[in-house]
Point group: D2
């Protein structure tokens, strides 16, 4: 037990922070050594400071931990950041400068040239970037929750057939907005066809993720993406209606095979958070559905369904991805596992 | 009062039938003279036979009417049909053959060559078709509830700039599935990314609606449409995310002006169900929303918002249309009003 | 038009404030002359300052009005207060001191000895209290939204049979918590069995409302009430499961007759907001239901159903009351109408 | 593996049936040897016949099993019945007559004098009844889903202080109505204050459960219960607002201790489905809540909160119980485990 890697959680009382605590509390490699949050929470026990929102019970050991402020040093070399973007930029830089590895779910550093925007099944080689970070530590980010499912579903299509253009309309879950997030009066019996800043992220983040590492920098991939983002009355799980234009022809069977056969480094390395199959194509006429499929493979797989011809582009399909697991805390932990396995973490 | 046109409602106890009863019960031109439904209901009073689902109270006069079977003759020259498609085809033909004008909301006869698929703001001239129907009466249909909002929003764009291609993703309300329709266990905390037969309707019905009347037939319009249809936990009001490729360039201002200035024959004729403005563009960043905007203009306007550039086609926007009013019963009544005003109805 | 009574709305941008604006904008006696809100909103037009949440469109005249701060004098002798209880106490006192009639929906002054806790069908005689208020103006309050429906349903039972004890469990709508109020993550697929301070209000306010005016004060009524309050995923309309112990025996028929025959001063005076029948008993096995019945009589009636024997007390039944209309803004406007009709308002 | 007890599931494709399959598929003592359903499903594989509704994936071995009709003999000595009450009575009798132990979740035989209405933490001694059943096999039933949570919460109060009267108002989950069950149009933004037959069950079943086994029969307990049952938009988990009148005085602390210390035979025997603690009192001001607490202890514990004085009876509190696990399939499996452990099952 005392050989586990000590980690901290920044923004630990928030919605993503709680998910980090939940997923890390039984992790085979990591052990939570610090929970940090705002001044208002600091000094209280985590159990007092935190309005625990998850169905899984709050682990007792963590409940009793004293909340610290989000300032280095914390007693750990790795911190997971679920900080709000209003403060994440500065705090994460501060931790990195002080020698900490910051595994961030926030948007602030995603476009820093030397910061990997990492989805380990896709661009683990981007981790080379971190040696160009001018800090003792490093910052590694994961993409927006809507981007993650999309790029995973596209990866094998890109590899086998090439992808020229994407049209995506999302129906996103409430947990993506944090807590308290969306007011119930705004979403009961309603759809909100707007999420601030979201369409821009979905249209641009894939370009870096699918980019090429070259001479210490990422050369963005060339791909036209049009995104429309909506909020719906779903607790967890983003559903996305995708149309795709391929570079080379492919049959439906070939596409489905590309998805079902997809496996990458995290699978080969048997990383603890890695799903056995990152992509699963389902054949039911009405799959995937958030309530039925979001928790498959502990929320780490992307579920795809309804592949059919598109009258404008080549094909259309539906994908589902768990936004707070694969698209946030779970994805970030998988990133950290990859970093550990690659030997990038300076172990004691 | 006794000069009102006597009308019947077929399938009067169902979900669309109730909406017909609701909207017709205070109509200035029409008066309900008959309510007809299945054998099971026939003989009971409408109040007994019907599980009234609408917030507006069931009008007492109608509650006391005896339900008849769906067979001609009924004491009226016009019937509104909210029949289920499993029986609508035959029953409606039967009524038309017996000299009745059937204003149908069902899909069965939409593609009959001599049957108008009518949206009075768009293709009132298609009413010329009915003289080619080989019956004493006539059948006039309105489109699928998801088609109606879409074609109305496209009409002024087509007229001013031309439209080459459309990509549409719908988030459709539960009332579109009738009653009992979607099980609550299927939709609470969920999205269902499939509605049987819906995408086909949205992709094809606009071709006839925008078609050209020529020598007693409709020549379909040429327009590529790709549709993806989803069910969401909304009571009334279909939201649609649309991308459009125009034939001629247009600025955002020109498009918004095209929508806001749009007015057509139903407006000029001051038809009772016609909204003052069929299309309303809203400037809020997060409009339209079903709960906030579906009932504007008594549910007969299409509300549009979020016009912005599309990275693939030219523009994207969001529209909202009340599916059981403009998209079903209200649209059908507007059709009937147009027929009356055009003098096509053989009045006593 | 210029003979209408000029009124102001305090807290006009909030959830109750918007309802006041909505209900007052076509009122036959009152005309909105001022909208007041926090410093943050002051100076903006109401349309800019307010995130309008109601399906009915925001009236244009009001949208263009400049928002003022909540300080006297405003250009009106009557203000409707939808202020948050954190500030309502002081602000309302201030207005009353400056000669304004304050028709308040807030809890702060409900227990002031000289302030009527008014439900005009029940205790209009309590208006005598206001002459004992040591101000030029006056404060008149209406009860908590859950209390209102309950006391109205009890009133004819008290009058005809006497009531000894009440057990009530509420299932309350989200709009009762204001905006943003309840987070969607807290209520989708959930029930919250707690509303802060609510049970105390429901257990005590009826005692004053049913109290006896005697020598310038109210002698509370003697009645045992046990309340349990829950929040459910309903937009508008509080449902209450009531058990009642009567003082004299009554048959179910007698009770239903007591409800259906109930009529009081607001009905006899034909006050504009007064429902024709304050109480309506419905005979369906599963009535009342919020979505179906909350808007009957424009939200001003209390709907009752399911009367049956109780194994502990005498009878149990279910009632439904629109919380933001009868239970808040509509009830307050009815209070103001009663004050006007009684000649208590110093007219110009 | 081949020493596991072979069991069948009757009504296996239904909502409770699926839950049986889910919970039995990894059971340490039982192994599904047969799935049986209606004629319509018989002959298909379970995967084809069943619209699997649960988030946990359908086990592959079961998916491939051929569905049989609900007629004996099936290749097993024990069947779990999730049959609809319209047919359960006869089918279950038939199986019992043919020598099968029928563990039923249906209401039909609950009041048969020789059939135990079993909650193993409460009345395991009632199993003595089965020797009085005039069959080779036996029928054992579990109570209605709303009864189960209530009687468990009452049990330690009865034991320590005595209970004289109970007032309970339920807010019940949708899954309790089976599939398709409640129409979404009936429950979105709504409460239905009526569940057919439910109040009668809650008011009477506890009398038998708490009854005394005497000379081969159960003498019902004496306890006045008044129940009001409502359906709310919650997926799983029944919430109940309870008021209780005790026979002897008790402090809040004593009551909470009674709940938290409660443990019974299933706990002592370490039955696989038995929760470590059948009752858990939570101290948060707003607990229990279905979404947060229904899955604690795998859905087998009853969660209690908000204990406080009642102005009419002695105390009021809120309880939560998972209706398809503890209140249906899970409870039935626990019953079966108790029968096995007691040696009542004729093992091969």
């Amino acid at each position: 037990m005392n050989e586990k890697i000590q980690v901290g959680v920044l923004g630990a009382t928030g919605s993503v922070g709680q998910k980090f605590v939940d997923l890390l509390s039984n992790h085979p490699w990591f052990e939570i050594a610090a929970v940090a949050a705002s001044e208002r929470s600091a000094g209280k026990t985590y159990g007092e400071a935190c309005r625990w929102m998850l169905p899984a019970p709050l682990p007792e050991r963590i409940a009793g931990m004293r909340v610290q402020t989000c300032e280095p040093p914390l007693p750990c070399k790795v911190v997971f950041s679920g900080l709000d973007s209003s403060i994440a930029g500065e705090v994460e830089s501060h931790f990195a400068a002080s020698g900490t590895f910051v595994i961030s779910n926030s948007k602030n550093h995603r476009w820093d040239p030397a910061v990997p925007l990492l989805v380990p099944e896709i661009n683990a080689d981007h981790l080379q970037l971190i040696k160009h970070q001018a800090t003792h530590g490093a910052i590694i980010t994961n993409p927006n929750c809507s981007t993650t499912g999309l790029v995973l579903a596209l990866k094998p299509l890109l590899d086998r057939f090439g992808v020229e253009a994407i049209h995506v309309v999302t129906m996103q879950a409430l947990s993506g907005a944090g807590y308290p997030g969306v007011a119930s009066l705004d979403i009961i019996d309603n759809v909100i066809p707007f999420i601030s800043g979201e369409e821009e992220k979905v249209e641009t983040e894939p370009l870096k993720i699918f980019g090429r590492y070259e001479n210490g920098a990422i050369v963005n991939c060339d791909l036209r993406i049009s995104a429309q983002c909506n909020r719906v009355a779903v607790f967890d799980g983003h559903t996305e209606c995708v149309s795709v234009k391929l570079k080379q022809p492919a049959s439906e069977d070939e596409m489905i095979r590309a998805w079902n056969e997809f496996s990458a480094e995290p699978q080969q390395l048997l990383l603890p958070m890695a799903p056995e199959k990152p992509l699963r194509y389902r054949t039911e006429s009405d799959a995937p559905q958030p309530r039925l499929h979001r928790n498959l493979d502990k929320g780490m797989s992307v579920i795809i369904g309804r592949l059919r011809k598109c009258a404008l582009l080549d094909y259309k399909f539906v994908l589902l991805s768990h936004n707070t697991i694969r698209g946030a805390a779970g994805g970030a932990i998988l990133n950290a596992e990859m970093i550990v396995k690659k030997g990038l973490l300076p172990l004691p």
